[in-house]
Symmetry: C2
Subunit: 614 residues, 2 copies
């Protein structure tokens, strides 16, 4: 009906029923697609009182109106559900080719409900949908699963799947697609596991609908050089995301030794420059992406010589499995990344849990026997062994598999002060003590500590997105003026993730409404899109409010709020409780929320969200 | 008296008199230092009716209040005189170490007057100044001169000198310092040559005065990561300025075959990536510069194997001696760059003159005999041979040595349409058909076609300098809205070149007034500095008005205004005479100039420039 985006597939694994649904036009206008549409569905359909592993939880895979079009960097999907880490809103994102392939089947998204009584996988082959037995591949690693399925079904299927970690309900299990791309955060792989769903294989042949492809081509030709010369594009093209490693370190932004050190000479040895020189064999890209930030990696020497990762570690992984653990051995990072891909684990959460375990051991909060060995910083055997234990839920690994929040509650003894998370989601590899506004972003983000939705550190590094009327220069250590701008940035990122378009695409926001209209035929404006972004952000918050999230949960790890670093680029700063209060007050006011972080009725009315059913 | 900046040295080569002069405090407040102070001196003292080679012309070397301080990227000097290329305002800039060394002598600038009756060089050794006989080094190349002088005087002298081209009054002769850094543009080397001045050697031991070094350190520590992660900093650090070669080419910005082609596969072979991989041995930096955009280059194989350039070609040179000549051989570019350094030639003007010669030959406007051979695009012998002919003023080279404007007037036959210059200065390696506002910048710049003062293509690439209240997104092919913003950018660049600070230093303008005050103790604001910038821009224009410059001279080469390119990123655009008129009208209005390009009295009054003596 609405050519460019119209059909969803609803699959109930309990009843094995499959439904085709049309997306209402007003839903698209209000929620765009992608993460917006998924939020609407989850808000309306998921019972916030049930556990994330309850069959009543639903997991939604969604593409957007721009997915697979001529617009570059549109090869991504979003996956949303109630999160087993945060017991609240959960979402993850991944690139590669799976999203376009799904869209080519004619379905723009999948809603998976219920729980299969035995291991199952889903095939969407054009208009044909089947639920098949996956018992024979249960227990296999992600890459093995993908290889096996492709062998069984044919090479032109694109596959997203879980590994042993997802099967075993490791709360930070990831979904892996296209040979190593991960929808990593919030334990979406564990939700798949709780539904006994091993994999989703898709194949399609439909042409992606676009209203005016010729004019899209003309516009892109005109702005293409601007995209290619966008600063991060050049860095990511040359080095991948690790190209910013040393520059982040200058800011004191790179976490070291579970966020206790501000400087460390090992940084040089795992920097993007060294990594690219020693390990990287080639650049690779997602579907229709001119940036190509992936790195095809091969270990040349040492115990892992010959190990190949088609999707090698990017910045977050290099830091989480490197500096965070005081590990300066690139080959060990690559091997650890490989194991995370095998088991299907989020590398950020994995790194944070291991760092937590080592520090607990060092402080005598867990015994040698409980630890299963002598946990030392930077020790390859310890790191790789703990990943295996987590993936297989053995020994200490079975505690860490619960996520750092639950693990610290279990271990007790003050270990909560060493647990680096917000709302249960392990914090990413940007230290908020280097960028206080980034601290606010971590504190309030709907999915817990999120570095992506808002990318506020870009603003604190000096980027001013004038199309969004962000003109101010913000000092990274100040607190004033940040709440208001963060809200704008978050609204914009909701737009990007609803369209769905990669946030690495370096074009000014002002270009996006025109491209949207040329794809869909629907007139829009930056203001309209930003209002939709604000609506989407608020509906997620409303889901969280129903899950019990309040101001007390919009907080930061103890260490960030109380322990300054003695050296490095943070210059000793902390994000004090008072800092956070000042920022939260300003932020809630800008958002139109009350002092407890609950959206006011007039805000919901303004955004047409006041009805329970939206 | 005014601690941080106070003394000038006036050297008359005719009378051999040397005077020490104090800089009046109001001059510093009105003109800052650097190019501003030089402009004031030349405006007041140089007779615009005399030729650039007349002994009455003066050549002023100037540092600024920030030179040699803790503020990074402050190792540069400016050199100004009436230009033998444009017969109007001339200036050139260079990095390295010479500027700091001069400042350490206790003198902030040199004013050289008159003409020596025989080859001479100047020594400033602390407070001691001598004029020595340079007959024994007359005829030597720049690098040889520097080596010889350093051997004679001692290794700790810093030397700026001219080569055979400057001696022979090649109108685009450069001044070379520190082993290959060039004050290239506007023929400042020829002005030195006209004064029989071969070199200036400086050595000093004075500490550079700063009011509050501790607070400068503290501010810098805070913003240092922002400097290092500034987009172009990262690119220049990784690749040098050639890192943007391919990205510029996407825009259709890189000139090919004397501006007649929009695309060429040879670009790949001389790109920054290939250049850095094949030739670059190390990074080098100017004094106190964390960016280090220089490249230390060695040719590995072929006829020039073993050739080392401590200051290897940067973007402008790679394009001017590469793509502009359809030359895809990196080693030939390095060799050509070496020859330009040897003779002391501006690489941009050299490339433009050679391209002009080859096209004239191709079109039959010069004969084989006149050409001294078969002039073919991309031919190494032709390129290297013509550089030698220019440097030695032999054959066709003696005509080209007059600059492309005079050469085309001499050759005639319509060759004026092939001569790429504005006001006599050969145009740099950014094609205004890819960025129309850059065309306006070329057209109006005081020194002729200048790519640096304003760096307007950055704005047209999407950079918005919000500290300067530049919020608009400009389409690179539009003409509206550009004049006003260009004026702001030019004013700001006058500030940078008066302070003197490298325009590659990536910090927002808002930081500069504070640093200025911490160095000098003089309170200032962004508004004050911008007003001084506007004043400086206008006094240069007033000098030009006295030299006869009017609206008719604010124009562009015929090719840019009438010939669109069939392929590449310019998409066939031209900067038509009408385009230019629209931009000029807006620009003059923004500047407060009349329709003929002459500053209105009220403008001069507003800027305190109405008195003849300023």
């Amino acid at each position: 009906m609405y050519g460019y985006m119209g059909k969803l597939l609803r699959i109930n694994l309990s009843s094995r029923n499959v439904y085709e649904e049309e997306i209402r036009e007003d839903a698209l206008r209000k929620f765009i697609g992608g993460v917006g549409l998924a939020a609407k569905i989850i808000y309306n359909e998921v019972n916030p009182e049930k556990s994330a592993f309850d069959p009543e939880n639903k997991i939604v895979f969604m593409t957007g109106p721009l997915t697979g079009t001529l617009v570059p960097c549109t090869g991504r999907y979003v996956v949303c559900a109630k999160s087993p880490l945060t017991d609240a809103w959960g979402e993850a994102h991944s690139g590669g080719f799976w999203a376009c392939e799904l869209k080519r089947t004619g379905y723009d998204g999948l809603i998976i409900e219920g729980r299969s009584d035995k291991p199952a996988y889903v095939i969407v082959d054009g208009g044909e949908v089947r639920i098949e037995d996956a018992s024979y591949m249960w227990g296999l690693g992600c890459l093995e699963t993908e290889d096996l399925l492709r062998k069984d079904l044919g090479g032109d299927f694109k596959i997203a799947c879980i590994g042993p970690a997802g099967e075993r309900l490791v709360r930070f299990a990831a979904i892996i697609n296209d040979g190593g791309r991960a929808a990593g955060r919030c334990g979406m792989g564990a939700v798949m596991g709780s539904k006994n769903l091993k994999a989703i294989a898709v194949r399609g042949s439909r042409e992606i609908p676009m209203k005016d492809p010729d004019r899209i081509r003309a516009v892109l030709k005109r702005i293409y050089p601007q995209i290619m010369s966008f600063p991060t594009t050049q860095i990511y093209a040359s080095y991948g995301t690790s190209g910013e490693f040393l520059s982040f370190h200058e800011y004191g932004d790179v976490p070291i030794r579970n966020f206790t050190l501000g400087d460390w000479d090992g940084i040089e040895r795992i920097s993007g420059e060294v990594y690219n020189k020693l390990m990287v064999k080639a650049r690779r890209s997602c579907w229709n992406c001119p940036i190509a930030c992936w790195r095809y990696v091969e270990v040349n020497e040492g115990p892992y010589a010959g190990l190949i990762l088609k999707r090698g570690p990017e910045y977050e992984t290099l830091a989480a499995l490197g500096s965070l653990l005081l590990n300066d051995k690139l080959d060990v990072i690559v091997k650890a990344n490989y194991l995370c891909n095998h088991y299907g684990l989020d590398t950020i959460s994995t790194g944070v849990c291991i760092a937590f375990a080592i520090e607990c051991y060092e402080r005598g909060l867990i015994t040698r026997q409980e630890a299963g060995g002598d946990l030392k910083w930077g020790d390859p055997e310890i790191i790789l062994g703990l990943i295996e234990s987590i993936g297989e839920r053995k020994g200490l690994g079975s505690i860490l598999a619960e996520g750092v929040k639950r693990a610290s509650e279990r271990i007790g003894g003050g270990s909560e002060k060493l647990a680096m998370h917000v709302k249960g989601l392990e914090i990413p590899m940007h230290d908020p003590r280097a960028f206080k506004g980034m601290g606010l972003q971590y504190a309030v983000s709907n999915r817990g500590a999120c570095h992506l939705q808002g990318l506020f550190l870009r603003v604190e590094q000096g980027e001013r997105v004038t199309d969004l009327k962000i003109y101010e220069r913000l000092d990274r250590f100040e607190v004033k003026g940040k709440g208001k701008i963060l809200a704008i940035m978050q609204n914009w990122h909701e737009v990007l993730e609803s369209l769905v378009i990669c946030k690495f695409l370096g074009i000014p926001p002002g270009h996006i409404p025109g491209l949207y209209t040329l794809v869909t035929g629907i007139p829009t404006s930056l203001e309209d899109l930003l209002e939709a972004g604000e609506r989407i952000y608020n509906i997620k918050r409303m889901f969280n409010v129903k899950c019990g999230i309040r101001r007390r949960d919009d907080t930061l790890p103890y260490r960030i709020m109380h322990e300054g670093l003695k050296d490095g680029g943070t210059l000793g700063n902390i994000v004090s409780p008072k800092d956070l209060d000042v920022m939260l007050d300003e932020y809630y006011a800008a958002r139109g929320w009350d002092e407890n972080g609950i959206p006011r009725n007039e805000t919901l009315k303004r955004l047409n969200l006041i009805e329970n059913s939206v």
